[in-house]
């Protein structure tokens, strides 16, 4: 399984959506509820019949709406398509079933609309406009960047704009993110070793990081609080942080993984916390204080420092906050293809590996208090 997303519109319960990947059986979307107080996981299953799910993303506006990219095999041809779905009403806001009810009266997703890609090729991923009303989508299909408008209560998707990568060779987008800043007018995509920024109004390229990674760029994420900061990861085992105003050099580079890094995610509220998942089956949680929006280091002026010893002491205790690896999680036995923070609890995250294992972890308590206090 590769597809994992938090249910973004849900802000109370900790809920993740997972898409399965199987060629032989009906694929499913699992809705995982995590009860933080009782440490109980609830699972609901929705059938996703059209094919194995490569990418899943939840609407930021409507809890019940989600988009998937799936493989459709027909006539010995494999095609990756994308569609927007609605889950049954009763599942929208959590489980009402008892956990032991494994008979799982599986329900089916309701197809809202299809993102027609016959002209553009395989869909790599679908991204929702992060702040909007859930009516705008971007999908990446081979070398096309497609902007969709959902109309008539999402039952119809109209291609409103598109852009294409041109160049020699077969260019293919691998992933993309929609920036939550600038009124959601910027999208960043990755293809091969390059990162490109796009303006969704003109569909023009606004910045271009050539050779951002030594090899394929696997994933991107925007700093939720600093509008120009961007994290990327790739096959060269590195996680890099960029300032999009100056793209010649990365701001910072982490080289902790021992294989390709598939996923990188900023914490939604504390942007010093960065998660990365890799096919060395590790998840690394790093504390990037120096490039976060959090005030860092010395807030107190020097003269104030000198006159009060209490102050001094306090400063001392705060100072050791430096860029560091907070924790390395090694629960997975196989390559980790997805990590996501919970949208409801900023101290909680889930990770998914190839063998289908989902692990939910918390930020270490000591660090949490350190950041909060």
């Amino acid at each position: 399984a590769r597809a994992l997303t938090p249910q973004i519109a849900e802000t109370d319960a900790i809920r993740f959506l997972i898409g399965t990947q199987s060629l032989k059986y009906d694929n499913q979307i699992h809705i995982i509820d995590f009860d933080d107080e009782n440490n109980i996981i609830n699972k609901n299953v929705l059938i996703h019949q059209v094919g194995e799910i490569w990418h899943i993303s939840a609407s930021p506006a409507d809890k019940g709406v989600l988009a998937t990219c799936y493989n459709k095999t027909s006539d010995s041809k494999v095609m990756t398509c994308a569609a927007v779905w609605r889950m049954p009403k009763e599942l929208e806001s959590g489980s009402h079933e008892s956990p032991d009810d494994s008979s799982s009266n599986t329900q089916t997703l309701e197809l809202l609309c299809h993102l027609d890609n016959t002209a553009h090729g395989n869909m790599a991923c679908v991204i929702w406009e992060p702040m909007g009303d859930g009516k705008k989508l971007i999908s990446l299909a081979d070398n096309h960047l497609l902007l969709w408008d959902l109309q008539e209560s999402s039952s119809n998707a109209v291609l409103s704009n598109s852009a294409a990568l041109e160049g020699k060779g077969q260019l293919k987008f691998t992933s993309g993110r929609w920036s939550p800043h600038h009124n959601c007018t910027q999208v960043t995509t990755a293809n091969d070793t390059a990162i490109r920024g796009w303006d969704t109004r003109s569909m023009r390229q606004i910045y271009y990081i050539e050779n951002a990674h030594g090899q394929l760029v696997r994933d991107l994420d925007f700093n939720p609080n600093k509008q120009y900061y961007l994290a990327s990861c790739g096959d060269d085992c590195k996680v890099k942080f960029w300032d999009t105003r100056n793209v010649t050099e990365p701001v910072k580079t982490l080289e902790e993984h021992s294989h390709w890094v598939w996923n990188v995610r900023y914490n939604h509220s504390h942007d010093q916390l960065v998660l990365s998942g890799s096919s060395d089956s590790r998840i690394i949680l790093s504390n990037m204080v120096s490039i976060s929006s959090e005030p860092f280091g010395h807030l107190v002026d020097d003269d104030e420092l000198s006159d009060q010893e209490d102050h001094h002491q306090e400063e001392k205790t705060k100072e050791p906050l430096q860029d560091s690896i907070i924790a390395t999680y090694e629960e997975h036995e196989d390559s980790v293809y997805a990590v996501e923070w919970s949208s409801a609890d900023p101290w909680l995250f889930a990770s998914l590996s190839y063998d289908g294992r989902l692990v939910i972890n918390r930020v270490p308590r000591a660090l949490k208090y350190h950041i909060l206090l």
Binding site: S22, K77, V78, G214, S258, S279, E333, S335, Y354, G356
Partner: protein, 786 residues
């Protein structure tokens, strides 16, 4: 015992003479004698128990008190002892008596002869007294006569004195009257010295009597002439044609003529300056154009500078000091003159120094620098002489400063030269790595290249060390300056040159690792490998060797902090490790790229039944083999886990039948759709985690393992992104078996390869909607055919 025996004492063997003999000697001797343990002493010891020498009980002591002695005896001794003591004492008394008598006899004769002598002396003295009276009478007569004579001669003597006084006066007057004529004559004859001498003799008198008209006239004349003379002298002085000695003479005469000293100083100096500047200009001309090559070599240049300029300078200083400074004139003038001289010398030397420095800067060749050192030595030596002449000036310090600067500059140049030499070596290696593919059948021998590069670098370092060593040679004057003894050796040569060079090697190595992160870069992997080995060699032996060599040649006395060998070694090792890691990465990437392309570009759903191993796999094996050869040239084999030569087949059969089947098994049973991987998970629990891009060790097997790990993991991840048809799966099976057949021998732990290949086939089966594995026998046939 031997000392008293040899002395004038009677031998201790005759007890009879013992006591009297001892008695005649001074107390000290006796004490010394009886203090020694001999039989006689013991007998005495009985008499004076407790032996209290000098005390009241010591019968021979000065403070002998008979009462105390008696009481003591009575108290301490028994009757027989007392009796013995008494007889003994009586015996002693008798002996003493007889001694006294002999003494009296002896002395009596002497006394009589002395009386005779005295009587004779009395008679002689009486005769002498008479003669003395006679002598006194004669003397008084003589005195009377002499007084008489002198009184008669008195008058005449006074007259003679007066006459002679008048004569000298007249002579002087005549001299004065003749003076103007003489002076003119002298001036005509150019005997200026003579003229000045005459004039200075007459001057004071003329001055004294100038109120008399006749003298006034003479004085006026003289002054006119002398003014004329002074004028002439000055002209000559200004003329400058004469040598320093003539000049000095002029100045001396002028000074005697009471010309103002300050003006003279200035004039003298300005004159000297003219000449010296002319010399400097000549030197500058020799310097050549600023950009062009110098006309003469540096030794010649410095030589000329020393011989002409510095020696003239010395001459000037010496004569100047003689003229102005060392005169017993007014203190003020001396001081003023001295100050002027110092300023003068400093300003001129400054120009000279700047010239020398410019010349030194022109000296850029990094070959033999013995010429330079000799030139510097000469320069320094001459300056020492100059400084001795004029201690107030700072020329010596500045000269040393220049030498130090030159030395520093030299070290810097050598460092640059070493670095560029190293770069050149690298370029050579690059070229020889790139070029001869067509010329020779074999790729260039890496080990040979390594040998050449390390040997040539080492030689270069050694020769540079010898060059630099010249600076500290014993016969060079500046070599015992504190700078050259301490800082030059430790900070300059050791830290600046050698350590700097080693660090720069490591730095270059690191740069290779960093810059090539993007898209493979241009560095050939073989070069990385070579450099890695080079760094490792440095770590193990070369660094310590070079540093020991340096420390030996430059006995470092300075205690400033120096970089320890260990930290350099650590740095080199780190560089070697990074290079090797990078090498593994680059090679791994090259192979990965091939595998990835092969997986990504193929339509796996619609492939035909496999008949052959894909060409890519053969290529992978070929490349791996060539890498193996390449690495084998430079690194040792390394350890691998024990295995039998036949192990590949056996393990593979296990893997392909039971293990693989077990991995597929859950997939066929629809009852557990979500726990498909349970079994494989359990298997994984027991297998070790594999770090793909992990650091490698310095041996062949480890390097190869790293490369293969990277390649296979890429293969795995790529496979997982695709969907396969039945034949696609079978093709992968064939490919994997082929890899299995050939790759196991390169790695340290073949299970690793098995595990990864297993994983690949397993994942492929997962990605296949219709997994029908191929018969193992068929696979084997295909592979053996291929």
């Amino acid at each position: 015992m031997s000392a008293p025996q040899g002395g004038p004492l009677p031998g201790p063997g005759e007890p009879g003479s013992e006591a009297p003999g001892g008695k005649r000697r001074p107390h000290g001797m006796l004490k010394l004698y009886y203090g020694l343990p001999d039989p006689a002493g013991e007998a005495r010891g009985g008499l004076a128990p407790g032996g209290d020498p000098g005390g009241p009980t010591d019968i021979n002591g000065a403070h002998f008190d008979p009462e105390v002695f008696l009481t003591k005896l009575r108290k301490e001794c028994s009757l027989t002892q007392l009796m013995d003591c008494e007889t003994d004492m009586v015996k002693q008394i008798r002996a003493l008596d007889s001694d006294m008598q002999t003494l009296v006899y002896e002395n009596y004769n002497k006394f009589i002869s002395a009386t005779d002598t005295i009587r004779k002396m009395k008679n002689d003295f009486k005769k002498m007294e008479d003669e003395m009276d006679c002598l006194a009478a004669n003397m008084s007569v003589i005195t009377e006569f002499s007084a008489c004579i002198s009184s008669t001669l008195q008058d005449q003597h006074e007259q003679i004195t007066k006459l002679s006084g008048v004569h000298t006066l007249l002579r002087k007057l005549q001299f004065l009257f003749e003076l103007p004529a003489r002076l003119t004559k002298c001036v005509e004859l150019e005997a200026y010295g003579q003229a000045v001498r005459y004039y200075s003799k007459a001057r004071s008198i003329l001055h004294q009597y100038q109120h008399m008209p006749s003298f006034q006239g003479i004085q006026d004349d003289c002054q006119k002439i002398m003014a004329n003379l002074a004028q002439k002298l000055r002209e000559k002085f200004r003329d400058g044609g004469s040598g320093a000695k003539d000049l000095a003479e002029c100045v001396e005469l002028l000074l005697q003529l009471d010309e103002p000293a300050e003006e003279l100083c200035d004039e003298f100096l300005s004159h000297a300056r003219c000449r010296l500047e002319a010399e400097l200009e000549a030197l500058e001309a020799e310097l050549g154009k600023p950009c062009g090559a110098p006309v003469t070599d540096i030794l010649e240049f410095i030589d000329r500078g020393c011989n002409i300029f510095v020696s003239n300078m010395c001459l000037v200083i010496a004569s100047y000091q003689e003229l102005f400074v060392s005169r017993e004139g007014v203190q003020g003038i001396t001081r003023m003159a001295q100050d002027k001289l110092v300023a003068f010398v400093n300003s001129l030397m400054e120009t000279y120094f700047s010239l020398v420095e410019r010349r030194i800067q022109l000296e850029k060749g990094v070959g033999d620098n013995s010429l330079l050192v000799r030139a510097l030595d000469r320069f320094h030596r001459r300056l020492q002489a100059l400084a001795k002449l004029l201690p107030a000036s700072n020329v010596a310090a500045e000269g040393t400063e220049i030498v130090v600067r030159a030395a520093k500059e030299r070290i810097r140049q050598y460092l640059l030269a070493l670095q560029s030499f190293y770069q050149d070596c690298l370029t050579d290696v690059r070229q020889s790595l790139a070029a001869p593919r067509l010329a020779g059948k074999e790729s260039p021998n890496l080990a040979e290249l390594l040998g050449t590069i390390s040997a040539s670098v080492l030689n270069q370092i050694k020769s540079v060390l010898t060059y630099v060593h010249l600076f500290t040679a014993k016969d060079i004057t500046f070599s015992n300056k504190p700078y050259f003894k301490g800082e030059f050796c430790s900070q300059g040569v050791r830290e600046g040159l050698i350590v700097g060079f080693i660090k720069s090697i490591c730095q270059t190595a690191r740069q290779f690792c960093e810059t090539t992160g993007d898209k493979g870069g241009s560095t050939p992997p073989a070069l990385l490998l070579l450099l890695s080995r080079l760094c490792l060699d440095y770590e193990t032996s070369t660094i310590s060797y070079i540093l020991t060599l340096t420390d030996e040649q430059f006995l470092v006395q300075d205690h400033s902090p120096i970089t320890p060998v260990t930290s350099l070694c650590a740095e080199a090792r780190e560089a070697a490790q990074r290079l090797l890691n990078h090498y593994v990465k680059v090679q791994g990437l090259i192979i990965s790229q091939m595998l990835r392309k092969s997986v990504e570009t193929r339509d796996w759903v619609n492939t035909i039944e496999p008949r052959n191993v894909r060409a890519v796999m053969k290529r992978v094996v070929e490349d791996t083999t060539s890498i193996d050869v390449q690495v084998g040239l430079l690194y040792e084999e390394g350890v691998r886990k024990a295995q039998s030569s036949d192990s590949s087949k056996r393990t593979f059969s296990v893997y392909s039948s039971s293990r693989q089947q077990s991995r597929y098994a859950p997939s066929y049973t629809p009852s557990a759709p979500l726990d498909t991987n349970l079994l494989s998970n359990i298997q994984k629990l027991f297998s070790e985690r594999i770090d793909i891009f992990s650091p490698v060790e310095f041996n062949k097997v480890s390097v190869l393992t790293g490369i293969i790990k990277i390649s296979l993991k890429t293969f795995l991840e790529c496979v997982r992104l695709r969907t396969f048809g039945r034949y696609g799966l079978q093709q992968i099976q064939v490919d994997c078996y082929y890899l299995q057949l050939y790759l196991w021998r390169f790695v340290c732990d073949e299970n690793l390869v098995h595990f990864l290949l297993d994983e690949i086939v397993g994942s492929t089966a997962h990605r296949c909607p219709d997994p029908v594995p191929m018969e193992q026998s068929v696979i084997e046939v295909i592979c053996e055919r291929g």
